[in-house]
């Protein structure tokens, strides 16, 4: 056979293979659909996550304590509270306005010379800005400014740690040194493992930087010198978190995502094997002949899938706990990584509920496939409905609230994070557990309904997702 003939034959084979391949659902999915759809979906999820984080940060009210000599107190109180123009505005400008609004509530009210300030904890208000626009009532920075003089020594690290530990709502302690003419920096003590504290210190730095810049500009103009010739006001933030707490934070940012991925991966193959795989092995009819209710059959399958998912998740957690400290320690980072048993114990009940939820969803979808291979292809995109929200939830700054506790997947990722750091509030965690329980029950019910359909249980070919709703509505349950 000549070389030309061989090429011609090879091209004929290639055409046939391509024709056949392009009629294969998986090939079409991975060749056309996924490359085209993945990045827009991925970026959309990331942008939505970032917007959610930014929105939540902007809307979070935080409180800081200002420690300064009386002579400096009013100046810094004003610097921290005069940034009203930075408040988000309701209307067209709302999206472009950075930072949150600023209100002062001051213990200096006791000082007859102090400007009256709204009482702390006062209801958020909406009021017209100087430009006539309405100021959003969200995202306040409340400032406590105790009237007493600073001690001979400025509050130190131990004092700050004690203040923040004693008051959970306190985001940061801002200390203005007595002798500022020595260019001693203003120090903002905070705890980086608390999102509220990070927001507070960020807002303080933002406000003081804006104020300092104005002062420098005014001084430069008055002295007719270059602004660079003037020393800026230095604001240092000092993190009170211990290396162990920082390690917990690092784990808490990484682990929720890993836990979710592992729960999904641990359930993925059993879900396919026990449904589509059973059809392929021709044992589906054998199972339908078992002398027990079909609900029990499908529930048993989902329980088996959940067990596999739970084993995979637990083993991953244990392996990670054993190895993370040692391996990350070799990096030389000043971070002590530990995974205490108490944190694992706190995460376990939510993980169990989540794995059950994931297993019910994956098993229901996998039941639509006619073979193991098609089941894998079908669940490939489906698993993204868990992984994308988990990615969004791993963004720093997003916290578990009563609102986020209701968002599937996001809630469990955030709860994992806060439980691992040890900063979880009981209320939102309980709401997360209740929401997960309800979602798991709903997923279980829908999955059992799907798997019970005659058209699904004995399907000779994979059922397209577009027929999913029809399957749920129509008749024809096996019993």
């Amino acid at each position: 056979m000549s070389t030309g003939s061989q090429w011609s034959a090879a091209l004929a084979v290639a055409r046939k293979e391509l024709r056949e391949g392009l009629r294969d659902r998986q090939t079409v999915l991975y060749t056309f659909l996924l490359p085209v759809a993945m990045y827009p979906v991925l970026f959309w999820v990331m942008v939505q996550g970032a917007l959610l984080v930014r929105g939540q940060k902007d809307a979070t009210n935080v409180r800081v304590e200002l420690r300064a000599d009386p002579a400096e107190r009013e100046t810094f109180l004003e610097a921290l509270t005069r940034a009203d123009d930075l408040a988000p505005l309701v209307g067209d400008d709302a999206a472009s306005a950075p930072g949150g609004s600023l209100e002062a509530s001051s213990e200096a009210d006791a000082d007859p010379n102090a400007e009256p300030a709204p009482a702390q904890g006062a209801a958020p208000r909406s009021e017209p800005s100087p430009t006539g626009r309405t100021r959003s009532p969200v995202g306040r920075l409340d400032v406590d400014a105790p009237p007493e003089d600073l001690d001979a020594e400025a509050p130190d690290l131990a004092f700050a740690a004690a203040r923040l530990a004693a008051d959970d709502d306190l985001g940061a302690l801002v200390v203005v040194p007595r002798e500022r003419h020595d260019d001693a920096p203003v120090i903002a003590y905070h705890d980086s493992t608390r999102s509220r504290s990070s927001i507070a210190v960020e807002r303080v730095r933002e406000r003081l930087a804006a104020y300092a810049n104005e002062v420098r500009e005014a001084a430069a103009r008055a002295r007719d010198v270059d602004i660079a010739a003037l020393e800026p006001l230095e604001v240092r933030s000092r993190d009170l978190a211990t290396s162990e707490e920082e390690g917990a934070l690092a784990l808490s940012l990484m682990l929720p995502m890993l836990l979710i991925v592992m729960a999904v991966m641990g359930s993925f193959f059993p879900a396919v094997d026990l449904t589509a795989g059973e059809k392929e092995r021709r044992t589906a009819e054998t199972t339908l002949l078992l002398p027990i209710p079909r609900t029990a059959v499908h529930l048993g399958k989902i329980l088996a899938v959940s067990t596999s998912g739970m084993i995979a998740t637990t083993l991953n957690l244990v392996a990670l706990g054993l190895s993370a400290g040692h391996l990350l320690g070799q990096l030389g980072a000043d971070v002590e990584v530990k995974l205490p048993l108490s944190a694992l114990a706190a995460v376990a009940p939510l993980a169990l509920l989540f794995v059950f939820f994931v297993s019910a969803v994956l098993t229901g979808f996998a039941g639509l496939a006619a073979s193991f291979k098609e089941g894998q292809a079908l669940l490939g995109p489906v698993q993204m409905i868990f992984i994308f929200p988990a990615m969004a939830a791993s963004l720093p700054g997003l916290g578990l609230t009563y609102g986020t506790a209701l968002i599937p997947v996001v809630n469990v990722a955030l709860a994992f994070r806060e439980l691992l750091v040890g900063h979880a509030e009981l209320g939102p965690v309980l709401v997360t557990a209740a929401a997960l329980f309800v979602y798991a029950l709903v997923a279980l019910r829908i999955s059992v309904r799907i798997l019970s359909r005659e058209g699904v249980a004995l399907a000779g070919e994979t059922i397209p997702l577009k027929r999913l709703l029809g399957l749920l509505k129509g008749d024809g349950d096996t019993r």
Binding site: T286, P291, P293, E454
Partner: protein
């Protein structure tokens, strides 16, 4: 298929008159996304008495397997009625499944279980337990001469061994009606009432 009068049907449906398997005007319709409504089985009447071997013959696509699947409660009839051993397949499918044995080309063995595990699984779900289950499994192994390969996984069985192992699975409990299909014999299906 015989034509049954009303009183005979009623008696047969109650399991009287020696009728083990009864079908009256049995129908099955499927909703096919491309072809619309498909009538796979229409107007099937049959009665098989205890001890009879009943042959159900027809060309490919005639609805033999679908009929047997309805009798075995794998799928639900769209119309008509059927009863096994006096139990209505629509009203009490679970009880029907407890009373029948059913083998077809699509009832495979669980490949990762051993023969003994398969027998214990079926026996357990049929309500046997403890010593009674052990005894029954041993009886079945002896009766079907499975001892040489019952401890191996079903996936390692030859075609002949697999067929031999499939038959006893439904026999783990006492039953009165069984059905098997054999596509190799010119699309012949045969419910057997014993």
């Amino acid at each position: 298929m015989s034509e049954l009068d009303q009183s005979t049907t009623e008696r047969a449906a109650r399991g009287e008159g020696g009728v083990a398997i009864l079908a009256v005007d049995l129908e099955k319709e499927f909703q096919d996304p491309e072809r619309g409504k498909v009538r796979a089985v229409r107007g099937v009447d049959l009665d098989a008495r205890y001890g009879e071997i009943y042959g159900l013959l027809g060309p490919n696509g005639a609805g033999k397997t679908t009929t047997l699947r309805m009798l075995a409660t794998i799928i639900a009839p769209s119309g008509g009625r059927a009863a096994i051993d006096g139990v209505d397949v629509t009203r009490d499918p679970l009880e029907v499944r407890r009373r029948i044995g059913f083998l077809s080309g699509s009832t495979g063995l669980y490949p990762r279980l051993t023969g003994r595990e398969t027998l214990r699984y079926f026996g357990g779900l049929h309500g046997l337990e403890g010593e009674a289950l052990d005894r029954r499994v041993d009886e079945v192994i002896a009766a079907f001469d499975l001892s040489k390969f019952v401890e191996g996984r079903c996936e390692s069985l030859s075609t002949g061994q697999s067929s031999a192992s499939t038959s006893p699975a439904p026999s783990c409990t006492t039953r009165r009606c069984s059905s098997s299909t054999n596509r190799r014999r010119a699309s012949t299906s045969s419910p057997r009432a014993t």
